[in-house]
Symmetry: C2
Subunit: 161 residues, 2 copies
């Protein structure tokens, strides 16, 4: 009798383990810890795949600082682009990439900080399997915010030498 | 034999369940989603209770922006203080408070953004029961960063009219 109830209990435990395993194999966004709403999908001319953007701090002449959050779905990436005063990226969850023109592609994870200097070409986005949640800070917006450039090629996206 | 190994497996599962239950019933910081390391405890002359600070972006003349993260343990709060170019707070988890001198105390939770204007007195910190994880952004650091003032009184901390 004791053994039987033990077996019943074991089945319950196993069921519970298997159902939580199921959750982690669902869509990517169920696994990441979202701090903000997803926002709106970024325009196809500047992004490949689904990059959801939400503005957190709008531009003004008091702070001259813009803050927002992007959720890059797996494989979603920005075009190459330039920030006249540079950009600070703060990765809050997931796995993604950042590359400055002429430099190796960096892999990014939760807690990483990226400093992209003013007037250099860069792109950022998610890894193929896991999305990336990242906040961005644009300082000194009196100099402008962003100039969008060409798409990242498949070769650039996959190259991590 | 099969039953015996089942019992052994059950014990392992139970051990694992009990150890994770133990984690969630520990101190507050185990319940919050930490993105960064906790860092160092802020000095007692500027903070009441344990406010852990980690610098994420140091001051320089390129970005003129300082970014960091504070984990306020339950009941931990800053003194009153002033930022010459204001401050942006981003709450990533927990529950806390923010007050600008002469205004009502605000309650803060995950996803909230606070804009504290330049040269006004404010304080921030955790609620009595739940800690708060918050990032801070100091823009335009060429004007300075912070001037520390007097302690927040118990009356100011508890008053939410």
């Amino acid at each position: 009798m004791k053994t039987l109830s033990l077996i019943a209990f074991t089945s319950m435990v196993l069921l519970s383990i298997s159902s939580s395993a199921q959750i982690t194999s669902k869509a990517d966004n169920n696994k990441l810890n979202f701090i903000f709403q997803k926002g709106e999908i970024g325009p196809a001319e500047n992004f490949t795949g689904k990059a959801w953007n939400i503005g957190l701090v709008e531009n003004d002449s008091v702070y001259n600082t813009v803050v927002g959050n992007v959720y890059f779905e797996p494989e979603a990436i920005s075009n190459w682009h330039i920030h006249p005063s540079g950009q600070i990226l703060i990765i809050t969850d997931g796995i993604g990439y950042h590359q400055i023109k002429g430099q190796p592609r960096q892999t990014l994870k939760k807690g990483d900080i990226v400093m992209c200097p003013p007037n250099v070409e860069h792109w950022h986005g998610a890894s193929p399997q896991t999305g990336m949640l990242q906040m961005y800070i644009l300082p000194k917006t009196e100099n402008g915010m962003v100039t969008w450039l060409q798409k990242v090629t498949v070769e650039e996206y996959s190259n991590h030498k």
